[in-house]
Each structure stands twice: as structure tokens, then as C-alpha cells.
């Protein structure tokens, strides 16, 4: 009888916009329910992301210019060294490295900041009903803002070396969107896994350094052509390469290979399916892991 009453109340609660939690299997898919509810709270996560940026530079004199400055310094230094080392023309190498590096930064910062994102929000997650994706959107938005700052460095580089604007540059929003869609599931899945297995945060940090060297960011994929299978392994099969390439290529005025779009499209479908399965099984447990 109580169960029946509970069912009736469920209908009432839905019409009132109330909340219902079940211990067993939810009827709704947790991933989509959470994302939908999370998107609706955009005022909150946009505010949090903005506050994150602001607090990072609080009481500094030049503020967000620090981001620009540190990216610019690294791009310039490594750019000149590598161009000289490999006898590549600086006018070609520097824009290539700069575009790749800022796309890489977007990827690697999101991946590294996702892990602790739910753990850091423990207090609010346990005390009020709030979708987890709020804290994921916060990480993504924050890093998009930083990417915007870094873009300034690239624009300066492009102006210095007089990069010619092309139609392919219009693909930038498409590439960026495709990358962000993938970052959404990566981030959500990582945040949930890292809540349970704290070692994964360290593992990701370790892996990202290695990934930087084996992914064509500061060297060109064409340099692998002399070694058999190297290019297919380090570029074509490399998820990180495609995530970078769909942003880098349009910035440089070239069109990414269709392979990149296909790869990221398939990865998104696959990734969201895995995340959905994971959350269907563990969604109710996440709060206990924090």
C-alpha cells in the first residue's frame, strides 16, 4: 500500500517539479537527466566559472594577462629553439606550435581539472539536490574562457607572420564544438571515477606529461613519415591528436582531415554510451564516494 502511495506521489511530485530519489534503478537515464537539469542551471555554473577565473587573478596587478603572458613566453621560447634545432622556417613552425599548444592546453587542463571537480564540491553535493554536471560545465566553461585568452597569443603570432585568412578558418567553431562535446563526457566520466579512485587524479597528471611528448604538438606528424606505422600510431590512432587537430587546422587556415571529424564523432557516441552505462550503474553511489 505504501509503495502504491509512493507511486501516486511520484506523479504529483513530477507535476510540482519536486524531487524523487530511489535507491534502486531509476526509470530515467541518469546521464541525460543530470545533463538536462545541469544545463538548466547555467546561471550557476557560468557564475562559478567566472568566479574561478576572477579569484585566480585576485589582487594581481596584470590579472588575466598572466595567462596570455605565460603561454606567449613558452610558445616563443620553445618555438625559437625547435625551429633552430630542426632547421624549420620559423614563419611556419611558430604558428603551428602556437595553435597546437593552445588547443593542447584546453584539452589537458580540462582533463586534469575534471578529476577533483566533484570531490571539491562535496559539501554542496551532500547537502542539497544538485546535478553533478553543474560542476562539469563549470570546468568546461572556465577553460573555454582561458582558451579565449590564449587565442590572443595566436592572433598576435598570426599577425606577426602574416597568416593569410582562408575559408577553412570558419571551421574553428565546428572543430571547437566537436572537441567540447567529447570533453563533456570525458570530464563527467573522469570526475565520477576520480571520486571513487583517488589515484586516478595522479595517474591522469602523469599520463598527460607523456602524452604531450608523444602527440604531434611541438613536432609535425609529417616528421614521422620515415618510420613505418609511427604516424598511424601517434597521430591517426591518437585521440588527443584529433582533439587538437580540429582546432589547430582551422586556426592555421587549413581543413582538418575528414578522419579527425569521423574519429571525434565516433568517440563522442562511444564515450557518451560508456558514460551512460557507468552512471546507470553508479549514479546513486557517487555522493557516497565523495
Amino acid at each position: 500500500m505504501i509503495v502504491e502511495l509512493a507511486r501516486n506521489l511520484h506523479l504529483v511530485s513530477q507535476s510540482l517539479g519536486g524531487a524523487r530519489q530511489t535507491g534502486g534503478r531509476s526509470r530515467r537515464e541518469p546521464l541525460w537527466a543530470d545533463l538536462r537539469e545541469g544545463l538548466g542551471r547555467w546561471h550557476l555554473w557560468f557564475n562559478l566559472a567566472w568566479k574561478d577565473i576572477r579569484s585566480r587573478y585576485r589582487r594581481t596587478v596584470i590579472g588575466p594577462f598572466w595567462t596570455v603572458l605565460s603561454t606567449a613566453t613558452l610558445v616563443a621560447a620553445l618555438g625559437f629553439v625547435n625551429a633552430t634545432l630542426w632547421h624549420v622556417e620559423i614563419a611556419i613552425y611558430l604558428p603551428f606550435f602556437c595553435a597546437g599548444y593552445i588547443a593542447w592546453l584546453l584539452f589537458i587542463t580540462i582533463v586534469n581539472e575534471s578529476g577533483p571537480s566533484l570531490t571539491a564540491a562535496e559539501a554542496s553535493i551532500k547537502a542539497i539536490r544538485i546535478p553533478y554536471s553543474v560542476f562539469i560545465f563549470r570546468v568546461l566553461t572556465r577553460n573555454l574562457i582561458v582558451f579565449g585568452h590564449n587565442l590572443v597569443v595566436f592572433v598576435v603570432v598570426a599577425l606577426i607572420f602574416a597568416l593569410r585568412p582562408t575559408v577553412s578558418m570558419l571551421l574553428l567553431p565546428v572543430g571547437l564544438a566537436l572537441a567540447m562535446v567529447n570533453y563533456l563526457w570525458i570530464s563527467l566520466l573522469l570526475a565520477a571515477i576520480c571520486a571513487r579512485f583517488r589515484d586516478v587524479v595522479q595517474l591522469v597528471a602523469n599520463a598527460s606529461t607523456v602524452l604531450f611528448f608523444v602527440t604531434p604538438i611541438f613536432w609535425q606528424p609529417a616528421q614521422l613519415d620515415s618510420v613505418p606505422f609511427a604516424r598511424s600510431l601517434l597521430a591517426d590512432a591518437n585521440f588527443a591528436y584529433h582533439l587538437v587537430e580540429v582546432i589547430r587546422a582551422p586556426l592555421l587556415g587549413t581543413t582538418p582531415e575528414p578522419l579527425s571529424f569521423v574519429y571525434l564523432g565516433v568517440a563522442a557516441v562511444f564515450g557518451f554510451s560508456v558514460t551512460a552505462l557507468f552512471l546507470r550503474r553508479f549514479y546513486d553511489r557517487i555522493a557516497y564516494w565523495l
Binding site: L5, L9, G18, Q21, K51, S124, K126, R129, I130, D284
Partner: protein, 252 residues
């Protein structure tokens, strides 16, 4: 129609970083939930914080949660607030829920009081338009005056209580969940807070409050729920449950 219906709700806390010695310690501590080895989960150590709770609350119910430290009061409130999903069993809630379970949800101590009012209200699900409408009222209630333009890290804990309380009570909920958080405020603020709760109770139709103070329970609640080690020991009119609790305290 506000209602909370719990049907055989259990909450098991997994202990991930435990070892045998911790387990022994918990077994002999004599307070808190029931520590058990969960056979279905490969001998993982869990603490049963809530054990098979079934009860219903309806419009007009003002429930006082009573029990020793670790009896499960805060966990039960968090389940009702939607923070924890039950490990088994179901909970159905109809109506909008507001909770003040821990102070300073989403607080950023580097931000000013006013900025924290904005963020805090967003956390509670208010829209910017609603927040603009409420800000003056919240600010007035805190009585913090010019301090609202200062970073929260300059506040005393009592001042932070004022701020969080004002934010959490700014919503017009159907259901109101309150953990014992008023302790940190000064006497004058507690009187003011009590007046606010009374006012809220005229609008909110359901209140659940956890407290160690039987005076607070008597003052605000018509029903009581005595928890012991996550189980319902007594559920009924507040006076009777308080009497049962006081007998258990005397008996030790």
C-alpha cells in the same frame, strides 16, 4: 501538497580507507551506526547509518529528529534533501525542498557578503531575477550592514551563520529541512532566527529539524522521531518521544 514518504530506506556508508584496526575500533565504540561486513560486496566494510526506515510526513507535520551523536539524524536529513540516495528502499518527496544542513553552501570566503548572497541563492536554485528581488530582504535580515561589502573571510563565525541562514531562508519552500546550525549565532540572532522559522512555518507546510535541544524541539515540532543507531526507536507526538529520549539518557 507537501509530503515525504520513506519506504524501507537504508543507507550504508562504504569505508574505503579502512583496515582491520579501524574496524575493531568502530565495533567497540558503542556509538554511531552498525558496522558490518557486507558479504555481497566482497567483504567491504560498511556502516549502516540508516536501517530500514519507513514513515510518512504530510502537510502540517513538524518533525523533530532526536538522537545521540551518530544516530543518523544528519544522514536522514541529507537523504531528504536529495544529497544521498538511499542504498535500498525509496523516498518520495513532493513539494519544493529547502535545506540548511551545513553552513555556507557554495561560499567563497574571498568574495564579499553580497557576492555570496548571489552565488548562494543560485546554489539553492533561484533565478537572477528572483535573487535581485530578494537581495535587499536578505541583506536586511543579516544586519551586517557595511560588512556585506567586505570579503567573507573577515567575518566571525557568528556573522557567517547570519549570512547563510538569511540565504537559506530566503526561498519559499514547501518543505524545510534544518540541521542544528543555529548554535553559532549570538542570543539576539537566535531569537531573530526563531521568529523567522515561525514565519516560514506559516508558509512552509512541512518542517524537519534535528536538534539536541529539547526546548527547540518542543517549541517548533509537533512530532518527534527518536533514532538510535539508524533505527526508529520512537515515532509519535513530540512530547512522548522527548520523554522516551530523556528516559534513555537517564538510563544511559
Amino acid at each position: 501538497m507537501a509530503a515525504i514518504v520513506l519506504d524501507r530506506v537504508c543507507v550504508d556508508f562504504p569505508i574505503y580507507d579502512s583496515d582491520r584496526s579501524l574496524r575493531k575500533l568502530l565495533f567497540h565504540a558503542g556509538i554511531g551506526g552498525v558496522v558490518r561486513n557486507d558479504a555481497t560486496r566482497r567483504n567491504r566494510l560498511t556502516i549502516r547509518a540508516l536501517d530500514n526506515l519507513s514513515f510518512e510526513l504530510h502537510e502540517g507535520d513538524r518533525l523533530g529528529l532526536i538522537g545521540h551523536n551518530g544516530a543518523g539524524k544528519s544522514t536522514l536529513l541529507r537523504v531528504m534533501a536529495g544529497g544521498y540516495r538511499p542504498s535500498s528502499g525509496t523516498i518520495s518527496i513532493s513539494g519544493e525542498v529547502a535545506s540548511l544542513l551545513s553552513l555556507g553552501i557554495g561560499f567563497d570566503v574571498e568574495d564579499t557578503g553580497l557576492e555570496n548572497i548571489y552565488t548562494g541563492c543560485l546554489f539553492y536554485g533561484m533565478t537572477p531575477a528572483q535573487i535581485r528581488e530578494k537581495t535587499a530582504e536578505i541583506a536586511e535580515f543579516t544586519e551586517l550592514g557595511e560588512y556585506l561589502r567586505m570579503p567573507v573571510r573577515t567575518y566571525s563565525s557568528g556573522m557567517q551563520v547570519r549570512l547563510s541562514f538569511a540565504i537559506a531562508t530566503a526561498i519559499d519552500p514547501d518543505i524545510w529541512l534544518l540541521d542544528e546550525v543555529l548554535g553559532a549565532g549570538d542570543a539576539q540572532f537566535i531569537i531573530k532566527a526563531q521568529r523567522r522559522i515561525e514565519q516560514l512555518m506559516q508558509r512552509a507546510s512541512l518542517l524537519v529539524l534535528a536538534s539536541h535541544s529539547m526546548n527547540v524541539i518542543r517549541q517548533f515540532c509537533n512530532n518527534g522521531l527518536l533514532l538510535r543507531a539508524g533505527r526508529i526507536e520512537e515515532f509519535g507526538p513530540a512530547d512522548e518521544v522527548i520523554a522516551a529520549y530523556e528516559r534513555s539518557v537517564v538510563a544511559g
